[in-house]
C-alpha cells in the first residue's frame, strides 16, 4: 500500500509537469486550431534558459538562498521563452493563418527541428548536468517525499489557479475565449485578435518554461533533445483530456504521469511509453474527442 502511494506521489509530480506543457498545446489549439509541434522544444528552451541563468547567478552571487535562485531561474526563463514563442508565432505561424491546415503544421515541425538543432549547435550535443538544487527529503511513515516534489506540485497548483483566474475572470481571458469561439465575430466586436493570439502564445510558453525549469530541477540534467519525448507526452495528455479544454489538459497530464509511474512500478520500465500511447489509442476508440472534449459537430 505504501509502495502504491509512493508511486502515486511520483506520478503526480511528473503529471504536473506534463500538465503545464499540455496547457500550452491545448490553448494554442483552441484558439487557432493548430498543433504547435514546436511547443515541446519551447519547453526544452525554457529548461536551458533556467540552466544558463542558474550558472550565471551562482557565479556572481555565491551563497544566495536556493529559493531566490529558483525564483530568478523561473522568472527569467518565462520572459525569455515567452519572447521566443512570440517571435516564432510572428514569423512562422501568423503569415500562414487562414492558409490551408497543413501549412502551419509543417512550419511548426520545421520550427521544432530548428530549435533543437539550434541548441545543439550553440550549446553542444552533450547532456548538461547541474548540481542538485533542492535535496531535502521528508519521511512520513514508510513514504519518502522530497522537497522537490512538493515544490513542483505547489508551483503547478499556484500557476494553474492564476491561469484559471486569467482565463475566466479577466478581460484578457474573455477576449481569449471569444477568439476561440469565433475569431471573425470577436474581431468585429472590437477584440484585437492578433494581440490576443500573441498573448496566448506567450502564456503557453511561460507555463512551458516553468515546466522546463522544474524538469531541470527534478532530473538535474538538460539536453537539446529533451523537447521531443516530454513534448509528445504533453501533447498526448492534451488529446487524452480533450484538446481545447483546459481542465482536460491538466487531467490528461496527471493521468499520463500516473500511468507512467504505476506502469514502471508494477510492470516494466522499458514499456512505460508503449503503455501510455496504447492507453491513449484505447481511450480515443471509445471517446474519440478525449475525456473532457466537446463532441465535434459536423456541419455540411
Amino acid at each position: 500500500m505504501e509502495y502504491f502511494i509512493q508511486q502515486l506521489i511520483n506520478g503526480l509530480t511528473l503529471g504536473s509537469i506534463y500538465g503545464l506543457v499540455a496547457i500550452g498545446y491545448t490553448m494554442v489549439y483552441g484558439i487557432i486550431g493548430m498543433i504547435n509541434f514546436a511547443h515541446g522544444d519551447i519547453f526544452m528552451l525554457g529548461g536551458f534558459a533556467a540552466l544558463i541563468v542558474f550558472l550565471i547567478v551562482t557565479t556572481f552571487f555565491a551563497g544566495i538562498p536556493v529559493a531566490l535562485i529558483l525564483l530568478i531561474m523561473i522568472v527569467v526563463g518565462m520572459l525569455v521563452t515567452g519572447l521566443w514563442n512570440w517571435t516564432i508565432e510572428r514569423i512562422a505561424y501568423r503569415p500562414l493563418r487562414g492558409s490551408f491546415r497543413l501549412a502551419p503544421l509543417i512550419t511548426a515541425i520545421g520550427m521544432s527541428i530548428v530549435l533543437s538543432n539550434f541548441i545543439q549547435v550553440t550549446q553542444g550535443p552533450r547532456n548538461k548536468p547541474i548540481p542538485p538544487l533542492v535535496t531535502d527529503v521528508y519521511h512520513l511513515g514508510g513514504l519518502t517525499i522530497s522537497l522537490k516534489q512538493i515544490l513542483i506540485v505547489v508551483i503547478t497548483s499556484v500557476l494553474l489557479f492564476a491561469f484559471w483566474y486569467i482565463v475566466n475572470r479577466t478581460p484578457l481571458g474573455r477576449a481569449q475565449r471569444a477568439t476561440e469561439q469565433d475569431r471573425k465575430m470577436a474581431a468585429l466586436l472590437g477584440v484585437d485578435v492578433d494581440k490576443t493570439i500573441s498573448i496566448t502564445f506567450i502564456m503557453g510558453a511561460a507555463l512551458a518554461a516553468v515546466a522546463g525549469a522544474m524538469y531541470l530541477m527534478y532530473y538535474g540534467v538538460a539536453s537539446f533533445n529533451d523537447g521531443f519525448i516530454p513534448g509528445v507526452k504533453a501533447f498526448t495528455a492534451a488529446v487524452l483530456g480533450g484538446i481545447g479544454s483546459l481542465p482536460g489538459a491538466v487531467l490528461g497530464g496527471l493521468l499520463i504521469g500516473l500511468i507512467e509511474s504505476l506502469w514502471s512500478a508494477y510492470f516494466s520500465i522499458a514499456y512505460k511509453d508503449v503503455a501510455t500511447f496504447a492507453i491513449l489509442a484505447f481511450v480515443l476508440i471509445f471517446k474519440p474527442t478525449g475525456i473532457l472534449g466537446r463532441p465535434e459537430v459536423e456541419k455540411v
Binding site: 557565479t59 550549446q123 548538461k128 480515443l284
Partner: protein, 462 residues
C-alpha cells in the same frame, strides 16, 4: 486620390529603420542566453560558462539587416508583383506548354535511366559511388516513401504522422526473415509489403472514427510504439544494436553481389571488383519501385477506389450520403500507403545491410510528410522535386568541405544539416504554402480537362 503602388520611399526607409532596430532589440534578448553564453564541462566535469559576445553581435546584426531588407525592399517588391498580377487578370492555364514541359516526364525518365552511367563516365568508378548511392538511391528512397504517404495524406486526406512505422515493419521483415530463414530479397520484397499493409489495416481499424488531429496523434503514437517495441524486444530485434549482416539482394537469383560467391556478378562479367555495380543495381531496383508506385497511384486515381479517396478528402459527409463505404475506403488507403512504405523498408534493409531503431524515429515521418506537403499534396512531380531539393540539398551540405576555408577548420557542415533543413521547411511554406506544384489536373471533369489551382482542392479532415 490616386493609389501609388510604392509608398513614399523616405517614409518607407524610416519605417524599415525603426522595425530593424526593434528586431535588433528582440534578437539581442532572444539570443543573449543561448548564443551570448556558452556552457561546457571543464576538466572536473562541472558545468561552467563563458561569453561569446562576437557571435551574439553577428546574430543581432544579421537580424537587423535581414529585417531592414525585408521591410524596405522585399515586401514592397512582393506587393508590387501581386498588384501587377491582379491587373493582368486570371492567367489562362490551358495555353500550350513548351516542348520541354510537354515532354518533361520522358526527359526525366531518360535522365534517370542514364544517370548511373553518366556518373560512371564523368567521375569514374570510385567517384560515382557517392553520386549513385548518396544522391541517387537516397533521394529515390525518399521519393518512394513520399509517394506512398501521398496516397494516405494527399489523396485520401488522412493525416498520418507515423508513416515511418511501415518503413520499419518492411525493413525488419526483410532483416529478420532473411537472417533467420535465408529467404531471398525477391521473395521478401513482396512479403514485406504485405506485412506492412497488414499493419496498416491494424492501425486503420482503431482510428476509423477519429478525425483530424486526433488521428494525427494516434498515428504518431503508433509510430512511436513500433519504435519502442523494436528497441525493447531485444530477444528478437537485438534492441538498439540493430541487426547487422543482412544479405544483399541478388541479380534475380542468377548472379550474386557477394565477392566470395561462385556466381559472383563481377566474375561472370569479367569485371574488376568494385562495390559500384551493386549500387548501380540497387539504383535500378529503387527506380523501378518508384515507377511502380507512381504507376499504381496514377491508375488508382482513375479507378472507383481512387475517386472514393479523393471524394473522402473533399467531403466525408457527402461521401457517406452517396453510399461510399468510408470504412473500406480509409482502410484501403492506409493499406496501400503502408504497402509502399514496406517495399521501401525492405529495400532500405538490403541496401544498408544493417537496420536499427535509430533509422525509424519520428523525425523521419516528419521529413516524409514535409516532402509531401512541400511538393504540393497530390502532385507526384512536385513531390519528386521536393524530395530532390530537400534530401539532395542536405546531402550536398555534407560535401561542402570548402566552407572550412571560410569558417575555419573546426567547422563541420554536417552539424548544420538539420538546422538548415528545418529553416528550408519554414521558408518554403511561407512563400509557397501550397507547395512547389500548386496546380492540379482534376481526376474527374466536365467537358474539358483544365488545370486548377491547388487552393481549390481540400486537404481533408482525417
Amino acid at each position: 486620390m490616386a493609389i501609388s503602388p510604392v509608398p513614399a520611399s523616405d517614409n518607407l526607409m524610416g519605417k524599415a529603420l525603426k522595425e530593424a532596430l526593434f528586431a535588433g532589440v528582440i534578437a539581442f534578448l532572444m539570443f543573449l542566453l543561448f548564443v551570448g553564453i556558452e556552457t561546457y564541462q571543464d576538466i572536473n566535469n562541472a558545468l561552467v560558462w563563458r561569453t561569446r559576445w562576437t557571435l551574439l553581435a553577428v546574430f543581432v546584426v544579421i537580424s537587423v539587416v535581414g529585417r531592414f531588407v525585408t521591410v524596405a525592399f522585399i515586401r514592397p517588391h512582393l506587393d508590387n508583383r501581386k498588384l501587377n498580377k491582379a491587373k493582368e487578370g486570371i492567367p489562362d492555364l490551358s495555353e500550350d506548354k513548351g516542348f520541354l514541359r510537354k515532354h518533361f516526364l520522358k526527359f526525366a525518365l531518360i535522365l534517370m535511366l542514364a544517370y548511373p552511367f553518366l556518373s560512371l563516365l564523368i567521375v569514374g568508378k570510385q567517384g560515382s559511388l557517392k553520386y549513385v548511392d548518396n544522391f541517387g538511391i537516397q533521394i529515390l528512397i525518399y521519393v518512394m516513401l513520399a509517394w506512398g504517404l501521398n496516397i494516405v495524406v494527399g489523396l485520401a486526406g488522412l493525416l498520418d504522422l507515423g508513416y515511418v512505422a511501415f518503413y520499419a515493419v518492411g525493413a525488419y521483415s526483410y532483416a529478420l526473415l532473411s537472417s533467420h530463414f535465408g529467404f531471398s530479397f525477391w521473395i521478401l520484397l513482396p512479403l514485406s509489403g504485405i506485412f506492412a499493409a497488414l499493419w496498416g489495416i491494424m492501425l486503420g481499424f482503431p482510428v476509423l472514427r477519429l478525425r483530424g488531429d486526433y488521428l494525427a496523434i494516434v498515428t504518431l503514437a503508433f509510430g512511436e510504439i513500433i519504435r519502442l517495441v523494436l528497441i525493447n524486444w531485444t530477444d528478437v530485434t537485438m534492441g538498439t544494436f540493430g541487426i547487422a549482416g543482412i544479405a544483399k539482394a541478388s541479380f534475380f537469383g542468377i548472379w550474386s553481389f557477394d565477392t566470395g560467391s561462385p556466381t559472383s556478378f563481377v566474375k561472370a562479367w569479367g569485371l574488376s571488383a568494385s562495390s559500384v555495380y551493386y549500387k548501380i543495381f540497387l539504383f535500378y531496383i529503387i527506380l523501378a519501385l518508384c515507377i511502380l508506385t507512381a504507376y499504381v497511384t496514377i491508375r488508382l486515381r482513375r479507378m472507383p477506389i481512387g475517386r472514393a479517396w479523393e471524394a473522402l478528402r473533399e467531403d466525408e459527409i457527402a461521401c457517406r450520403s452517396l453510399g461510399i463505404d468510408t470504412v473500406t475506403t480509409k482502410l484501403t488507403a492506409f493499406a496501400t500507403g503502408a504497402m509502399f512504405g514496406g517495399f521501401a523498408g525492405a529495400f532500405f534493409a538490403a541496401r544498408q545491410g544493417f537496420v536499427s531503431p535509430e533509422s525509424f524515429v519520428f523525425l523521419e515521418s516528419a521529413v516524409i510528410l514535409a516532402i509531401v506537403v512541400l511538393g504540393g499534396m497530390g502532385s507526384l512531380t512536385g513531390i519528386a522535386i521536393a524530395a530532390a531539393v530537400m534530401v539532395g540539398g542536405t546531402e550536398i551540405l555534407r560535401e561542402m568541405s570548402f566552407l572550412k576555408v571560410v569558417f575555419g577548420p573546426d567547422f563541420t557542415p554536417e552539424l548544420y544539416r538539420m538546422l538548415l533543413f528545418g529553416l528550408a521547411m519554414i521558408i518554403v511554406m511561407l512563400f509557397k504554402p501550397r507547395g512547389f506544384v500548386g496546380s492540379r489536373e482534376p481526376t474527374a471533369f466536365l467537358k474539358e480537362r483544365k488545370a486548377v489551382s491547388g487552393s481549390f482542392t481540400k486537404e481533408g479532415h482525417g
